[in-house]
Amino acid sequence: MTAKSPNTGANRVAGKGRLSPAKTATFTYDGKSYNALEGDTLASALLANGIHLTGRSFKYHRPRGILGAGPEEPNALMDIARDKARRQPNVRATCQEVFDGMVAKSQNRFPSLEFDVGVVNDALGRFFPAGFYYKTFMWPQKAWDKLYEPIIRKAAGLGDSPDEADPDHYANQFAHCEYLIIGGGATGLMAAKTAAKSGKRIILVDENAEIGGGLLSDASVTIDGKSGSDWAAEILAELKSYDNVKVLSRTTAFGYYNHNMVTLAERVTEHMANPPAEMPRERLWQVRAGKVILATGAIERHLVFADNDRPGIMMASAAGVYLNQYGVTPGKNIAVYTSCDSAWTVAFDLKKAGINIPAIIDLRKDIDETLIKRAEDLGIRVLKHHGVVSTKGRLRVKSIDVEPVDGVSSETIDVDCLLMSGGWTPSIHLFSQSRGRVKFDEDAGIFLPDIYTENCVSIGACNGTFEMTAALNEALKSVEGKGKAPKVADAVSMSGFKIGAAKSAGPDDFTKAFVDFQNDVTAKDIRLAVREGFQSIEHVKRYTTNGMASDQGKMSNMHGLAIAAEMLDKPIPEVGLTTFRSPYTPVTFGALVGHNKGELFDVTRTTPMHECAVANGAVFEDVGNWKRAWYFPKAGEDMQAAINRECKMTREVAGIFDASTLGKIEVVGPDAVKFMNMMYTNPWDKLGVGRCRYGIMCREDGFIYDDGVVARLAEDRFHVTTTTGGAPRVLNMMEDYLQTEFPEWNVWLTSTSEQWAVIAVQGPKAREIIEPLVEDIDLSNEAMPHMSIREGKICGVPTRLMKVSFTGEAGFEINVPADYGREVWETISERGVPMGLTPYGTEAMHIMRAEKGFIIVGQDTDGTVTPQDAAVGWAIGKKKTDFVGIKGLNRPDLVAEGRRQLVGLKTIDGKVVLEEGAQVVDDPNHAIPVPMIGFVTSSYWSEVLGHSIAMALVENGHSRTGETVHIPMPDEVIKAEICSPIFYDPQGGKVNG
């Protein structure tokens, strides 16, 4: 903590505010150190220290100060850091609580905030009207990305992006409740208090650190005879006593999604000096609510007049907040410019606190007499039906010029702060996001909820109900509460408003009267857009960028709309609002990502034998979510050396391979065969029990969808295998047909992909290696021929033992219940390795199957390849009258001449290995574009054959065996001969050992 009795700022007002003077915190702002009271926002702390200047504007780089006291703040955006990695740009100083050791920096200025060379843009402002960049920078053609764009980009953009990985973590929470109450002001609290008794689940959220909304800054109101803030505190205490009520402060409801899902961003640790490491920085809540109670209040609008953007000019309600909540005055000599009653109350509060109020300037002709009376009693000068027509002061407002609304005689008043109020805009953001429809209330100049599409209701200020008693009654009703609202006295009046350009911002003024502060949009810009034919409000928004800044126009949209409407000479509702979108205020990416990062970014699936592969020094590859052993380099081996060895040893002795990731589906039931006949192009009736067959599956369009070996375990039971990646979609497609097309068939499907660990032992010595480990199965060729399956035991555990080969060697695929996989693998290895058994990975597997011309769906096929194209047409049951794809296969283009067909390619120079994906052409000298007749799908160096091998899809390939084709590479043209894709053991004798 800091010095003995630290000075927390000259602008603290003794006896005002809700913060304890005992607790202080130290922070730096642009390198200089300041003190704050714990609970201060950065904005209140700066103001307490007499600082208004907080940033530079987007386009003109005009000095800007703190404007508001809440999420609507367009100006005071800061770079906030805890340490180098924990830095965040564009943080609202009005929402960020100060924590001890906080480092805050102003943004968008060079070299310094006080002196920013960017201001030339301001001087030259007239040369940068709305959309000027669409009209210029076009010549010379090349200059845009090389010259102009970089300059524009440098000038644009607010803060600096973080430049280190975010070390913090974030959490997610799904939640359900009967009532979600958004907004902890008088109405939200009233609703919560009323609903709490019902025992229903209630969540009450408010974006501020302290719950209470407008009440906290309201010095006069009493409810139930208590001050507003005491009343709020009492309810809060009561709510805490219910365990069916959850109260979340520092939590912003930012999105309203389909079917009453509302998303909340809770800031968990951002206010703490030393957040516990375990705590998430933010938590995303995804709340499904029975009914949503919107009690989001209203946001005060500024006034649009000449030079209304100087530091020291701020919102009246904000001053009320700083004085009554934080005990800070924004100045010593403060004029008030308003069209709304609530600003008068602020003036009175300040005056009572000993601040000089040179004048209240009100645009209105007739003003509530009691207000005027109170002003006189306090000795405040009142200028009825007057307007502020200009302001002076570079880094802080010094004086204002005041004029009668319909007069000229102007008077200059010295000030160090000017408060303004154009009245209140109900916060209908979330209601609109719920796709509700709004209507315009002429008399109050506000858009209000009209048609609801979700089960929600708006109450209080966000429903245009500015009268507190009425608001509280709405609250009661909203949750089916009985009885009457408590008695309210001396509530702040919020009536009176002004939308659009005030005096001095009129059509014929040359001044800059800002509508959207952050994007530097002036009344002139809006008018220009309309003059240029941008008549839809959506066009005006996009051409001027009004309301597109990080505050999303919370204060500016209504003004922009009114000015556009005036220009178009249309009533406001006909011009309409732009679309409200999520989020209500910006949300940290990290919070949206939640737990799903690092290890939890995506599932990592490993097989039962993964540890064995690790122990064998495997290099893994990602296949879908799986980690598969790719190859097993020995010390000093590169990838090629390793796979050469793996292939050689497997073909000469034996290899062991983890095939567990293959998809497996158990198809069971009396109609199993019928079903298989429909799903696969092959016929299955004749497949005997204990036998296996390679099956091809198409979609209705006739293109290959998946393939795999299918084993028949019993008349009514098949063990089906699919590709690793295909497993889920194949099962989904099977279920689809079964449930929706053939529901009457008696067959059931169960995924057994992970029930079975699969250990392939392949090669001449395969049988010799496993034989002694196997019980109750005769492994002789006669008893167990190629493509058969037996059930028995291995290493004392049950197995489904398959005599199948994807390598071309005699071999087995040993299925054992997954948890046994590891020890079975180890036992086989212990016995086999001394005999030369070699673990091989997916790369060697790919090579060996390619040497045999076996396709890999997804590599040698791509969703445009038919079984005939892939040279597996033999797998189509010629006599079958129906199967999935039977029609698609025979569509004109699928049987037409010139289809790309799968062939083998032998490079003329056998040492040259083609590149997978390389294109095949007939005439390499053809001018670009070169007609391509196919491409290389698989290509490898075959150590066993001593030359490269490849497979390719080539137009009419099946009838072009022996012909030479060309494969043009960037630097050379490779010649290759079309051949059979079966490179190794064409007679296929080896599978029988």
């Binding site: 040369f127 973080p162 796709r435 003059r531």
Partner: protein, 417 residues
């Protein structure tokens, strides 16, 4: 049309910008036109412009139910590239890129076409195979595209995380240096302004409600919320709403309309110099001239015309963004929105004549048609003017769905956008 230029801006500055004329008029619809284009998105407006500028057909109306450019054109992430696999696609998108290069000058409107480079990441062996296949095909089709190593990728895009320890490490990337982005709104506005200047009527707030046909079945015009408008030639360029419009003419389409979402961060100073996309982890990102990170999410799983979608779709994308670019985890989402994308079974567009005489359709651009805007408008104008497809769009027919001659960029594992 008064010329836009730095000088014009200076001149207007001196008279407080009172002299600018309307960029396009808002005329009352006439009773008939030579050609009606339904849909004032980029493609529709471009079609109208090329009808006028290339084929001298200026008696054209572009009918728009809302505000021009307010459809997908106004809500897309503006990625422009042409490194597609199949010859037809390469032809189309390359044609477009050539037109993009001179577009600002041709339209006298700065569409901010910025060839900052589009990098498509690979994360596994299969990705690499697919990328290589594209690279070779592109080279032989004269399409710019090159392979870069993870280190080169990092150099080209410093925020990229190429650590081997992440879940799906970058194994390299296909980089199209001529690819980039353009300002979506400016494209619509630029075409609208120039087309209007040449006499084309752009009629907004004018929804086509039905299509009129004579006894021979040929098109005679449309009924709109602003009355009946006649024309012997009607071109439907309505993206997500194509099925609805074609249905009015009795033509059923092989289309489904899905919500596709995008989002932007708060604006920051230049940090992201190019466009990066990854199919495997589902994300694409660039930084706009205004400073926001522009991030594209995926489609929701149900058809919808609502221009909204679920938050989980956007967060899924942000997971990928933060995985590839961990420095962005503290950036903030400023706004999210959705569009309605018209998806064909083979993910390739349809630009063609239809079974109905005088009715033409340009649709099916799905998640990736902004990049094609000039090319699409150019050849579609040709198709309408000559009642005969241009050779570049000859393959993008409706017939392909019954003869099976698909242009399957999807199956070829190409990526969206």
């Amino acid at each position: 049309m008064r010329k836009f230029s730095a000088f014009a801006v200076a001149r207007e500055a001196m008279r407080s910008h009172k002299g600018w004329e309307k960029q396009w008029a808002n005329p009352e619809p006439k009773s008939s036109y030579d050609v009606i284009i339904v849909g004032a998105g980029g493609h529709g407006l471009a079609t109208a412009y090329y009808l006028a500028s290339v084929h001298g057909i200026t008696n054209v109306a572009v009918l728009e139910k809302g505000w021009l450019g307010g459809g997908n054109t106004g809500r897309n992430t503006t990625i422009i590239r042409s490194n597609y696999l199949y010859d037809e696609s390469a032809g189309m998108y390359n044609h477009a890129v050539k037109l993009w290069e001179g577009l600002s000058q041709e339209l006298n409107y700065n569409v901010m076409f910025s060839q900052r480079g589009v990098m498509m990441l690979t994360h596994n062996v299969h990705d690499v195979q697919v990328a290589q296949r594209h690279l070779h095909a592109n080279r032989l089709n004269g399409v710019d595209n090159s392979w870069v190593t993870p280190e080169e990728a990092k150099e080209f895009c410093p925020p990229l995380n190429i650590s081997k320890s992440v879940r799906y490490p970058v194994m390299g990337a296909a980089l199209q240096r001529k690819g980039g982005v353009a300002r979506h709104d400016a494209v619509a506005w630029g075409y609208a302004r120039k087309a209007a200047a040449m006499g084309v009527h752009i009629i907004q707030q004018c929804e086509v409600k039905s299509v009129n046909r004579d006894e021979s079945g040929a098109v005679t015009g449309v009924n709109t919320t602003r009355g009946t408008i006649n024309s012997k030639k009607v071109g439907v360029v309505a993206a997500g709403h194509t099925s609805v419009l074609m249905d009015m003419a009795g033509v059923r389409m092989p289309l489904e309309s899905y919500p596709l979402q995008a989002l932007v961060s708060e604006p920051v100073k230049p940090i992201f110099p190019c466009v990066v996309m990854s199919n495997t982890v589902h994300a694409y990102i660039s930084q706009s001239d205004k400073g926001e990170l522009v991030i594209g999410a995926g489609t929701d799983q149900y058809t919808s015309y609502s221009q909204t979608g679920g938050l989980h779709i956007a967060t899924h994308t942000l997971e990928a963004i933060c995985e590839m670019f961990p420095i962005f985890a503290r950036m903030k989402m400023l706004r999210s929105w959705g569009g309605i994308v018209d998806v064909t079974p083979d993910r390739s567009p349809i630009l063609a004549k239809t079974p109905v005489k005088g009715l033409y359709v340009n649709c099916g651009w799905g998640t990736g048609g902004f990049k094609a805007t000039p090319g699409s408008g150019h050849v579609f104008a040709h198709t309408i003017a000559n009642d005969e497809p241009h050779k570049i769009n000859a393959g993008f027919t409706l017939e392909r769905f019954h003869n099976g001659r698909l242009i399957d960029e999807a199956a070829a594992a190409a990526v969206a956008h």
